[in-house]
Amino acid sequence: MQSESGKDITDYYKHLSLFWTDIVHLMSSKPQALTSIGPMRAFAANSKKVSTELIEINEDLMEFNKHLTEYYKQLADTWVDAQKKVNLKAPEIPQDIEQMEAVKRIWIDIFDNDFTELFDSGKFGDNYGKLVSKELELTKHWNNITNVVLQSVNLPSKEEIDEVYKEIHSLKKRVAKLELELKKKEMKKNAE
């Protein structure tokens, strides 16, 4: 977790950045309206959205890095512990094929057991879940920035495409239900 003073500094810079982005945006909107035409005007008008997303990406990136560090720490700690166990069980350097096979078997068994124990643990699941969640939030910011670009060239955003998919899905369901009802009516009619 971020310390209070760290959070204050982040909030200060976030405010500072947004203040100047807003002011510059307001100050430039009129000359911009006069000078920029076509698709690039839409991009310029939405540039504030891009700045906000970039600021938020930084915040999420800090959290993401924290969980990523913990993820690699868990892997590294497990590796070190497993290797210690292997060293205790097989202290000698193998001298022939049989010994080499035996050491390999010990190594694989201990490493698989220890890593499975880690992957099965609550601490791993919890951190991994948060890591993926933060990665998804970063993806969301990237999607939002891409949407600004898409809108500037008059292409549908992800949300707009999703709406179409949802509508198609709903229509398909309705058609399937109607077909089923029709089939039932036909069967009833034939039975009469």
């Binding site: 879940g129 969640s133 369901k173």
Partner: protein, 354 residues
């Protein structure tokens, strides 16, 4: 005085031979992309959206009256049930005189993110069951579900018991809270709402990650060392590459379906508690009253026996059988054990009821 350690020359010989095998491997074996996984002859008899219904050509003169529809899992593809002639689940059942259909769920795209349990159970599966009933002039069919395909088949057997004569649940995913696998640990901590909202479908990469944490050293290192060591053993190499190709090809899972599956099975565990709803219909396992045969693998590290076995005790059927086999998730369906033990027992059970 220093002790002198001697290295066995055989170790050097072994390392050199291994290096030679690695270099010569491309000359000796096909690339996975060059291998076709379609083994037993079949035809595509129906198609709905991206799903397909396959019908295998009979290989016996006489066949049992009741056809069998296999609902394969949502992870990877149906080829594992027909991976090579001598280990083919499908071929074995054809040899035992069964009429076999297979449901191939296909490859969903972003457009399919809103497909849900209702579409899979009351849509695709029900439509194919109706088709088979019409084609074979029977009122009921036998249904087999494997892994996550068994979760879908179980809900189908509960909602449409009038269409299912016999139900075979092979490593079914049923009781998520009892599941002791790494997969269930990841699933329980997943923010599935966020994943579906932002990504849409469950991406294959996530499944590859889940596979990679299952016995990572045995599966990630030892397996490939053995492959190169046995590069001259044609039978071993062929079997290895087929399974590897199968493992490396998993389709995305439609977002809404995946969301309900993770929440209702792994996070809230609604199915086994008879609290799961599909489009407003309650899935009551007590309504599964047809003969049921549950197959569980003791060494299953994808769906633990504790996750599958509760189905046997939860159903309303009086005629029910539970079998446990000393093998793993894939070993139960595609191994010499499955050919010698699992399939003969299943075939006998099914023949008596078909």
């Amino acid at each position: 005085m220093q002790s002198e350690s001697k290295v066995d020359p055989k170790i050097i010989e072994e390392i050199l031979k291994f290096g030679k095998n690695v270099i010569e491997a491309p000359k000796l074996v096909s690339a996975p992309d060059e291998i076709s996984l379609e083994v037993t002859p079949h035809e595509v008899v129906q198609q709905m959206d991206k799903t397909r219904l396959l019908h295998y050509k009979p290989i016996t003169e006489k066949q049992h009256k009741t056809p069998l529809l296999i609902s394969y899992a949502l992870i990877n593809r149906f080829h594992i049930l027909d991976i090579q002639p001598e280990k083919s689940w499908v071929r074995n059942l054809l040899q035992q005189g069964f009429d076999i259909y297979m449901l191939d769920w296909g490859t969903p795209t972003s457009m399919d993110k809103y497909l849900d349990f209702d579409d899979y159970v009351n849509g695709y599966l029900d439509a194919y069951v109706e088709y088979i009933k019409n084609e074979s002039s029977t009122e009921k069919i036998s249904l087999q579900g494997y892994c996550t395909g068994a979760t879908i088949a179980t809900t189908y057997a509960s909602l449409h018991p009038e269409s299912v004569k016999n139900y075979i649940a092979t490593a079914p995913v049923i009781d998520g809270w009892r599941d002791t696998t790494v997969i269930s640990n990841l699933a329980k901590h997943m923010d599935v709402d966020k994943m579906v909202e932002i990504i849409g479908n469950m991406p294959p990469e996530f499944m590859y990650y889940a596979f990679s944490v299952l016995k990572p050293f045995e599966q990630g290192i030892e397996k490939y060392v053995n492959f190169f060591k046995n590069i001259e053993n044609k039978k071993f190499v062929d079997s290895f590459l087929r399974v590897e190709k199968w493992l490396g090809d998993t389709p995305p899972i439609p977002g809404e379906l995946f969301k309900q599956w993770i929440k209702d099975i792994y996070q809230d565990n609604l199915l086994i508690q008879n609290k799961m709803y599909i489009e407003g219909q309650l899935v009551d396992l007590k309504k599964i009253d047809m003969p049921i045969f549950t197959q569980v693998a003791v060494g299953d590290h994808l769906v633990s026996p504790e996750c599958s076995m509760p189905l046997h005790y939860a159903v309303g059927s009086e005629d029910k059988t539970l079998r446990m086999y000393p093998t793993g998730h894939v070993g139960m369906i595609a191994s010499s054990l499955s050919q010698k033990k699992v399939l003969p027992e299943l075939g006998q059970w099914l023949a008596d009821r078909s």
